[in-house]
């Protein structure tokens, strides 16, 4: 009983921890984007505006929630909570403070990929609950985007699983240490890393893949009718997704929390998790920076351009990646 109680408390702490990390991710995103666009970015709340995302969240939670007549209110409320809940569950698989996440079992990779697929449904279903054309158009675009990036990303992650020979995330982080026939796996998996990175950008709807919201065309698209606490939750969901997807790329391709661990005897219990978290967050920040840099330097693609990129180029690249691995494995 005591063990379950401690585990329950651990989950409570973890939930608020990842929410806080999501706010930090948003601050980092806004600050870096502003810097690249020669703006100041958030600066009023807290040092360097670090508390601005929290202030924005509280402000939105306190604002009136307005929706058009005919909106399926209950289901919209449900999807807002459900989407964020899925992301919190996904973060529990990330090996941040050690080589295992809070949840770890054989086959957790499959579970994570399946949860990612379900999370995308939230973005497709929610806009259709509003009786307004803009969200509906946004949902259609989101659905097309989903059909485009899902298979390349799945194949990219499958390449890593193939090299690791395991369906457990705590084994997969060691892929970077694999050397076979004189070639490090980390080098061979570079095409898969590129595919996963670009697919993650599409999953995050970051420029140049922000066609579902496209403010200048469809007034915000899928989120045009969101307001108040719903908008607060969906913004938080997007922030948490940025952190989670960056963390998943780090876990699959960059060794997760692996890195030099400096400890002194008697303090291993404290210093080892610290260094694991340090390396994990450092790598995650680098991945997030790359995503933001590409976003800042790009213009929005049209939907047909996105489809062409994913179905012809990235899908081909991920299949070539699998063939390279098969040849390399067979040698």
């Amino acid at each position: 009983m005591m063990e379950e109680l401690i585990f329950g408390l651990e989950i409570v702490v973890w939930t608020f921890f990842v929410i806080f990390v999501a706010f930090l991710a948003e601050w980092f995103y806004r600050k870096v984007l502003a810097h690249m666009q020669h703006r100041v970015g958030p600066k009023l709340a807290g040092n360097l505006g670090i508390l601005q995302p929290i202030a924005d969240f509280i402000k939105l939670m306190r604002k009136h929630q307005i929706s058009p007549e005919g909106t399926d209110e209950i289901l919209v409320d449900f999807t807002a909570i459900f989407g964020l809940w899925i992301m919190v569950i996904l973060t529990m698989f990330l090996p941040i403070f050690g080589t295992e996440g809070i949840i770890s079992f054989h086959g957790d990779v499959v579970f994570v990929i399946a949860l990612l697929a379900v999370a995308s449904l939230v973005y497709i279903i929610t806009p259709y609950l509003f009786p307004s054309p803009y969200p509906t158009i946004g949902a259609g675009r989101r659905a097309e985007l989903y059909l485009s990036y899902e298979i390349p990303m799945f194949l990219a992650l499958a390449s890593v699983v193939f090299v690791a020979g395991s369906l457990r995330i705590s084994d997969i982080i060691y892929v970077v240490t694999v050397v076979k026939n004189g070639v490090p796996a980390a080098i061979l998996l570079t095409p898969a890393l590129i595919v996963a990175l670009i697919s993650s950008m599409a999953r995050l709807k970051k420029i140049p893949f922000d066609i579902p919201e496209a403010e200048t065309e469809i007034a915000g698209g899928w989120e045009a009718e969101l307001s108040g606490r719903r908008l607060a939750y969906f913004n938080l969901l997007t922030d948490m997704k940025l952190f989670t997807l960056s963390g998943l790329i780090v876990t699959f391709f960059l060794g997760g929390p692996l890195g030099p661990v400096f400890t002194v005897s008697g303090l291993e219990w404290l210093l080892a998790p610290f260094w694991h978290a340090f390396w994990f967050f450092l790598k995650t920040i680098i991945v997030m920076y790359i995503i933001i840099a590409i976003s800042a330097a790009s213009a929005r693609f049209r939907i047909d351009q996105v489809l062409r990129i994913f179905w012809s180029k990235l899908l081909s690249l991920s299949i070539i990646q699998l063939i390279i691995l098969l040849i390399w494995w067979g040698l």
């Binding site: 939930t15 939670m61 058009p68 964020l84 086959g107 054309p133 369906l167 045009a224």
Partner: protein, 107 residues
């Protein structure tokens, strides 16, 4: 943590916490009846008068996606009955009569 109680805690606790925080937010004061809220256009709210027939394909694709992931990744490790069930599921989904194709009007 793989115990049943642990799994229930993982599912229930974050859901409860998020629901409580969500409930602390302000609810609707009024319904506008105008759309879209963001742009301020003065049109009565309306659904696009076509069935979103593509939703079927999306739902199908997501199910197909998850089932294929399970089959590909777990084929070597789980019972043949599980794989057979998933294959039957895929075939059943394929056989499901497509309704609403062509995007006909609802009214």
């Amino acid at each position: 943590m793989v115990s049943v109680v642990g799994a229930i805690l993982v599912v229930i606790v974050p859901l409860l916490l998020l629901a409580i925080v969500y409930a602390m937010g302000r609810v609707a004061k009024r319904k506008t009846g105008r759309e879209p809220f963001a742009s301020g256009h003065k049109f009565p709210s309306t659904y696009i008068p076509y069935k979103p027939w593509w939703l079927y394909y999306i739902a199908f694709f997501i199910l197909w996606d998850i089932v294929v992931i399970f089959i590909l990744f777990m084929a070597a490790e789980v019972s043949i009955y599980v794989i057979a069930s998933l294959v039957i599921l895929i075939v059943t989904m394929l056989a499901y009569p497509l309704r609403g194709l062509g995007g006909e009007k609802t009214k």
